[in-house]
Symmetry: none
Subunit: 257 residues, 2 copies
């Protein structure tokens, strides 16, 4: 019964290796050890962090799994060359779950880009109309100052449907269920970034996609969808950082009391 309500909130005790991973990752991303350079040996890290080699090895294995470092037997552990562009940068200091969510989101990106291209080629009149309808519904909700999330989702879904390949829709549903649909439905951001200008931007991007599909230009449709989703990804990442900062602050506030 050492469990208080506060304890229930989150949290199981973090494994030591996770702590070490966070510390090393932070240093790597700060560029304290340039790419291609060798990290301290496991023995040195053992002393530095005051934990066993077991923990150090587990931490290094995780970093290697993320592509941040590479271990060469007999030589040492080296900083990976591509970390500046690595996805690990985006997933920097967030928990494993957020990182997973970002990865899923990325797969969704692949699905949607291609479906936009196919929709441009294969859509029939009714399907094109459905996409337009979702577009205008978004517009209506926006003017009425109502939540636009559902319309946004419907827009993307209509496009997937217009590929005439039912699996695209299924994939979208399956992926969307776990990884925060697209733009404005995550619970902790509803009040923060729902600015009019923000949603206007979304709608402008939607329009470009819609036009490309209507024109039957697959290449343009893919490109438009790519920029749209890439930006969404960026927005999502920024929100994660904002949340992280929020928690950090509340933590600091709590500790200064």
């Amino acid at each position: 019964m050492s469990q208080t309500v506060a304890d229930l909130r989150v949290e199981r005790k973090p494994k030591l290796s996770e702590t070490v991973v966070a510390a090393i990752r932070k240093q790597l991303l700060a560029g304290e050890i340039p790419p291609g350079q060798k990290l301290p040996t496991e023995g040195q890290l053992t002393e530095t962090f005051g934990v066993s080699r077991t923990v150090i090895r587990e931490a290094l294995a995780k970093l290697a799994a993320d592509g941040l470092v590479e271990a060469r037997q007999g030589a040492g552990v080296f900083v990976s060359e591509h970390i500046s562009t690595s996805f690990g940068v985006l997933a920097a200091d967030m928990g494993a779950k957020d990182s997973v969510a970002l990865n899923v989101l990325e797969v969704r990106l692949a699905i949607e880009i291609e479906s936009a291209g196919l929709a441009a080629i294969r859509r029939n009149a009714a399907q094109e109309a459905a996409i337009q309808e979702a577009f205008f519904e978004f517009e209506r909700l926006l003017l009425a100052s109502q939540p636009t999330g559902p319309a946004d989702l419907a827009f993307h879904r209509a496009i997937a449907s217009a590929t005439n390949n039912p699996f695209y829709v299924e994939m979208l549903d399956v992926l969307g269920r776990r990884a925060i649909p697209c733009d404005v439905t995550s619970p902790w951001s509803t009040e923060l970034v729902q600015s009019d200008e923000y949603q206007r931007g979304l709608q402008r991007e939607h329009l470009v996609i819609l036009n490309a599909i209507s024109a039957g230009d697959a290449e343009a449709a893919r490109e438009a969808m790519r920029t749209h989703l890439t930006r969404s990804q960026q927005r999502y990442r920024e929100r994660l950082q904002a949340r992280q900062a929020y928690y950090a602050n509340s933590l600091k506030a709590a500790s200064t009391e």
Copy 2:
């Protein structure tokens, strides 16, 4: 002078844990252990794989990092609830019908195109080497007049792996199993279209992809992969028609007897 061409012979011995990861991942994606269920204990896995607990733990850590399993101290290691097993069942009940297979193949196309682009940006040295290795293995098998299917699959898999997004690999595994790997492994076509010239063509397309990825050119990599898979799709369609024609003939022959 340290690096000669011969040195590029990349054949670094795979770590034991990697082997174990592959084996367990395969089982998980096949759905042999349903989500939420407990895996065998580390001790049991130690016996079944004949390696030390260190290796097993490292493998489990990697799987946990990929979000496939979750370890709870004192309880055990459990299969994650929200795995792509939904894809598993998705892909399970199809495969019967060819039209369905074609649709799945199309989804796979979307996945692979994007992963080629990401691989061009994010691959590290070891991953690039793995792709090259698969490429040369294809070459070797081709010259030896042996089946090139496995090498072809390995090539595509190495690319997915180089995205550093484990979900791409999972998707490929799940989709690839049911829906005709890539080009020449479907059972009813082995003798038909294995012409040398045919496979030379494949290899040429592979080379373009490989070069683009090595050059770090995402756009070119996507384009190369798109043409490769589109042509494969086309080849597959032709083979379907050929088979159809064959059956039609044998049917007619049977009826006239």
